[in-house]
């Protein structure tokens, strides 16, 4: 028993790290209605400010702390509220989640443009150090703690108590929650919702700053990725607190830390079970909590009751244009596409062939996001996992059992579809952000538990996957493989369009509009969503398999959860509702870095002679696409689709001018039309 307690207690200091982050996530959700995946990015910015002030400019620790936590943190919150989340209060929770996803991608990359991570070391803790400049050690109840751990524990206690008091005993706390529930109703009562919302964001952002500074000494180097990792692990603790209870989130964090201590203490490290379970404990916990925690099962999302009066999102631009425009657009597309294809097949180098190959393959993968997000209205963060399942499945079948590559790709897609359906069944009662978090937990579990296994990914030797062939037709050459990828893209696109126009698509439209109303007319929402999940997973699996064929092997690094997040960001920012949007995203994913590094500087150097521009940082693409995703709430159809609607409307107006021109002068040979007979006036 002593040993049990000892292992459990050893996990408490690190549990406090989870607790601090979980409390921050809960505070943000409670006071803004946003499940803020960008919390870690905000923490990272404040840690950078602290580092620069203290380490690079020699400010005292207290001054650097005040600057980063008390000044910069709240300012970031104020900016986010003023320019972003204030306008999203009545948006669906999923739209707010996507917005925070965009920030998660954009903020660290924007910081890196000005702050070179590679030259920094770790952040100095706020607690006084000993004579060797090392964290001071303290003996507490027989255990050694260092100053940094003690600082985190004290901060967690103060924050939890302070926030508990704020929400339980003050009118301010009640009003902050009310503004989240319905800003319009609270404003009817004379409360300034904008001001309260801004305060809530400043408070939660200050907490992000506190977490950023206190967590800094945990990492050997100050890096945005490190913060993301900790935040992801702490989501389970926030879920334990039902995203709204600060004491439960605190307890969840501590329990998580203690569980890790106990598992490390008792489980043998050389078993496959342990090697999967321990690294993925937070994600397994999150997945199980989302499925079975009573507080979450019956939980309704924070949603403005008056949001029903908001107008529905506009229809697709393609549906609004005239037949002339439709044919004109298609003809233009055929001419441009045909020209590019002609040059790819005849003149352009292998580099461009490979680039377009990749763009086509990613377009196929991105169509899976079109299905699940654009059609079913759900955000899945495990599309990269489905792609990985398809890739590993196909590669293992081809390598181990000599299954023909094309058949292996199809079987891999089927396996991904089955996994997608199985994942959807228990997750369906969740919905909204909870379903999204479940997919996220699944992605992390797969990455930690299954992917490292040799029979899945090949372990240290990635599984090889050769080029396919059909009878005498070989696709070993880059151009022929491009043609094959294009054919598959066309087939998948047609399937997606057919499904969207067919029964399933209409059912999904109805369910997305109102699940209750859909049920009242006999639509089985669960079946429609399971179909969507399976279909989406199959597409991702097929695309993942093609990616492995292109690379010659299924590389785990191509399917990480972070890459999956970026895929979602790029698709929703460019257009998640149309096939065209997915293709645009695929092209953008491959061509935008080339634009930044080659075309843009070249263009600038041509049009102006006074400054020689070099390649722009390719990291800018993350910033652009991340910022694109934050427009999701305002333009859920995607930025390009929005622009397309505007340009279509403009073109139609111009065409109307020609159509409404005065009629030609009458032909003299034609007799004038007699005026109609009218009754004689009395």
């Amino acid at each position: 028993m002593d040993e049990f307690i000892q292992y459990a207690l050893r996990g408490i200091p690190f549990g406090c790290v989870f607790a601090l982050v979980a409390v921050g996530l809960v505070l943000t959700y409670k006071t803004s209605g946003v499940f803020n995946l960008a919390f870690g990015a905000q923490a990272y910015v404040c840690a950078v400010v602290y580092y620069v002030a203290h380490t690079e400019h020699g400010w005292p620790i207290w001054a650097a702390f005040i600057l980063s936590v008390v000044i910069v943190g709240p300012i970031i919150g104020l900016i986010l509220d003023r320019f972003l989340f204030r306008h999203l209060r009545t948006a669906p929770a999923i739209a707010r989640l996507v917005t925070s996803l965009g920030l998660l991608v954009a903020i660290p990359e924007a910081v890196k443009i000005f702050f070179d991570e590679s030259s920094v070391t770790s952040v100095v803790g706020v607690w006084p150090t000993d004579e060797f400049d090392l964290p001071r050690l303290y003996r507490v109840f027989g255990y050694d703690l260092d100053g940094d751990q003690l600082a985190t524990m004290v901060a967690v206690a103060v924050v939890a108590v302070g926030l508990g008091l704020l929400f339980r005993y003050t009118a301010l706390g009640l009003r902050m929650r009310a503004v989240v529930e319905s800003p319009r109703m609270t404003e009817l009562n004379g409360i300034n919702a904008d001001r309260l919302g801004a305060f809530a964001w400043m408070l939660s952002s200050a907490l992000a700053g506190l977490a950023g500074v206190l967590l800094g000494p945990l990492f050997a180097r100050l890096s945005g990725n490190n913060y993301t990792t900790v935040i992801v692990a702490a989501i389970a603790a926030a879920a334990f607190g039902r995203l709204t209870s600060i004491p439960l989130a605190l307890l969840g964090g501590l329990l998580l830390g203690m569980m890790q201590g106990l598992l490390a203490g008792y489980l043998p490290s050389d078993s496959v079970f342990t090697q999967g379970l321990r690294p993925s404990l937070p994600f397994i916990a999150l997945f199980l909590l989302l499925l079975f925690w009573p507080g979450l099962r019956s939980k309704a999302e924070i949603r403005d009751p008056l949001s029903g009066v908001d107008p529905p999102p506009p229809g697709l631009a393609a549906l609004d244009r005239s037949a002339f425009m439709t044919w004109g657009t298609r003809a233009f597309g055929v001419v441009v596409g045909g020209t590019v294809f002609f040059f790819l097949m005849t003149a352009l180098s292998n580099y461009w062939v490979l680039t377009f190959q990749s763009a086509v393959i990613y377009s196929i993968i991105f169509l899976s996001i079109t299905v699940i997000t654009g059609m079913a209205g759900q955000v899945s963060l495990c599309q990269a996992t489905f792609a990985a399942i398809g890739a590993y499945g196909a590669a293992q079948l081809a390598q181990q059992y000599d299954v023909p590559v094309l058949l292996a790709l199809v079987i891999g897609a089927v396996v991904a579809a089955v996994v997608g359906a199985l994942l959807a069944i228990p997750s369906l009662r969740l919905g909204g952000i909870f379903l999204t978090l479940a997919t996220f937990a699944f992605a992390l579990m797969f990455e930690n538990v299954l992917q490292p296994l040799g029979w899945v990914s090949g372990g240290t030797r990635p599984v090889k996957l050769g080029r396919p062939s059909i009878g005498p037709i070989s696709f070993a050459g880059e151009r022929s493989f491009l043609v094959l990828c294009l054919v598959i893209l066309v087939v998948v696109s047609v399937l997606v369009i057919l499904v969207r126009r067919g029964t399933t698509g209409r059912y999904l439209d109805a369910v997305r509009g109102s699940e209750v109303a859909a049920a009242s007319i006999g639509i089985n929402a669960s079946r429609a969503r399971i179909t969507a999940f399976a279909f989406s997973a199959a597409i991702a699996g097929l695309g993942g398999g093609l990616l492995a064929v292109q690379n010659g092997q299924a590389r785990p690094i191509d399917y990480t959860y972070f890459i999956g997040l970026f895929w979602v960001v790029i698709v929703v920012s460019l257009g998640a509702r149309t096939v065209e949007g997915a293709v645009n995203a695929g092209m953008g994913f491959m061509l935008f870095p080339i634009f930044l590094s080659q075309w843009l500087p070249g263009l600038l150097n041509i049009i102006q002679p006074w400054h020689e521009f070099g390649p722009f940082p390719v990291g800018l693409q993350f910033v652009f696409f991340g910022l694109g995703a934050i427009t999701y709430a305002r333009h859920p159809e995607g930025v390009l689709e929005h622009q397309k609607r505007k340009s279509t409307a403009f073109t139609e107006r111009q065409l109307d001018r020609f159509r409404k021109e005065p009629p030609a002068p009458p032909d003299e040979n034609v007799p004038p039309v007699e005026p109609a007979l009218t009754p004689a006036e009395p």
């Binding site: 050893r10 991570e117 990492f219 180097r221 201590g261 203490g265 090697q275 580099y351 690379n551 690094i557």
Partner: protein
């Protein structure tokens, strides 16, 4: 190719002697029909043949220059930066060009490509199609190099940092070390433990394939070479981002661990060191990737007495080999940083120029490849242990001969070379597994 995969000790020593002679010849500018090379005191150029240098009809080669380009991970959001490898290449090329270049041609690094989101296959293709390079160097990324197949298929010599399986079994690919064998046993670590008088070893690794494979290799080494120390604690189920080692260190204490080996990243060894200090575990950490002067400068006290190993002679080496002296001189001259990646870039460039020398004035890509593979062991003028490329491409050949250099970390973060004998920075072992006794005591380096 064609040699027996495991050379005898005599043959290896002979190869080292041949290499030494070759290096001397190169340094004097007399080797391989007129490669111009630089010496520390200035430059020496072989006189141009009476009829001038022969015309070479190869991609990326003109009468005035030889073009090369590289691909590294620089802005990749999912992994680290490796672009300082370019600085090493630039420094080496600056040295060679100052001495007149190679066969009357200047060496030009014309492209520094960034593989962004792991698009290294496309970037390699761009080096071939757009940048028209003769060879590809440096290549530096940690997470899979899908461009390897393209280079091998087209017979383009490539030089880079070898972290992955893709570098194995390809005779056109020359990493900074021979093919990796993650879980092969080796004499080196048991020998280090023995030299330090350590008895009980801990092995920690992440639950991911490469890390776990590395841990298996360490465990296998101590099992194979008994008589040094025994593995008393293993944990190969760590997760990325884990900063809590309290239970592990507690168990290490109970097991009497005095030597801690890890296959983890810098975050983990950093937090492990803090926990060891907290729980007052008197053990030495072995850090295979710990050669990071800036990091150690800040954290020297935490890592005091830890053992760091490198694949190359570190700049702290007292009796510096010629290659190291040149590196230090030219990296300063060209303003590049002293990092392990920039040293590797330098080694890659040296390997390339050596290959050109071996290929002769009418060089082709294939001649460069064949020259290196059939030539003497490569040492980058003493900067790295000898690599025999007739065997080093195959994974089955454990390159146990001279695994690297060893240093001890001082309290101020400085690195102090250890196990140096007669001025030799690399302890070497017989490369014939069959003749290796099971007791590491018999090796004195």
């Amino acid at each position: 190719m064609g040699k027996h995969p495991r050379q005898t000790g005599t043959r290896r020593r002979l190869a080292v002697v041949v290499t030494g002679v070759t290096v001397l010849a190169l340094t004097l500018g007399a080797g391989f029909g007129g490669v111009a090379t630089a010496t520390d005191s200035g430059s020496t150029t072989t006189e141009e043949p009476a009829g001038g240098w022969p015309t070479v009809d190869q991609p990326g080669v003109s009468d005035t220059d030889i073009r090369v380009g590289g691909v590294t991970s620089t802005t990749n959001a999912t992994q680290g930066r490796y672009d300082t490898a370019y600085d090493g290449v630039k420094a080496y090329f600056a040295m060679v060009n100052k001495a007149g270049g190679v066969y009357g041609r200047k060496l030009k690094l014309v492209a520094e490509r960034d593989d962004v989101m792991l698009k290294n296959k496309q970037e390699v293709q761009a080096l071939i199609d757009q940048d028209n390079v003769f060879a590809v160097l440096p290549v530096a990324n940690i997470a899979g190099f899908s461009g390897a197949e393209v280079l091998q298929a087209q017979g383009i010599p490539a030089f880079g940092i070898n972290y992955n399986e893709e570098w194995s079994n390809k005779d056109a690919m020359f990493g900074d070390r021979g093919s990796l064998c993650f879980d092969c046993p080796g004499i080196a670590l048991p020998w280090v433990a023995k030299k330090l008088g350590k008895k009980n070893v801990a092995v920690l690794a992440y639950a991911v394939p490469q890390s776990k494979g590395c841990a298996d290799g360490i465990v296998n080494s101590f099992e194979e070479y008994k008589g040094a120390a025994k593995v008393a604690f293993t944990d190969t189920a760590l997760s990325f981002g884990n900063a809590d080692f309290s239970v592990q260190v507690d168990k290490m204490k109970q097991a009497g661990v005095d030597f801690v080996t890890t296959c983890v990243d810098q975050n983990a060894v950093f937090n492990l060191a803090k926990e060891m200090r907290k729980q007052r575990l008197d053990a030495t950490q072995y850090l295979p990737d710990g050669y990071d002067p800036e990091f150690m400068k800040q954290n020297g006290k935490l890592f005091e007495d830890s053992i760091v190993s490198t694949l190359f002679a570190p700049v702290e080496t007292k009796q510096k080999p010629a290659g190291l002296k040149k590196y230090i001189k030219w990296i300063k001259k060209t303003g590049g940083p002293v990092t392990s990646n920039s040293i590797t870039g330098w080694i890659n460039a040296d390997q390339f120029v050596t290959g050109l020398g071996l290929a002769g004035p009418d060089f082709t890509r294939q001649k460069v490849i064949d020259g290196i593979n059939n030539g003497p062991d490569f040492t980058a003028n003493g900067l790295i242990p000898p690599t025999d490329w007739s065997t080093a491409h195959t994974e089955s050949d454990p390159q146990i001969g001279c695994p690297g250099a060893y240093m001890q970390v001082a309290a101020n973060g400085a690195f102090k070379p250890i196990f140096v004998k007669d001025g030799k920075i690399f302890p070497c072992f017989d490369n014939d597994l069959a003749s290796v006794p099971k007791n590491p005591l018999e090796y004195e380096g």
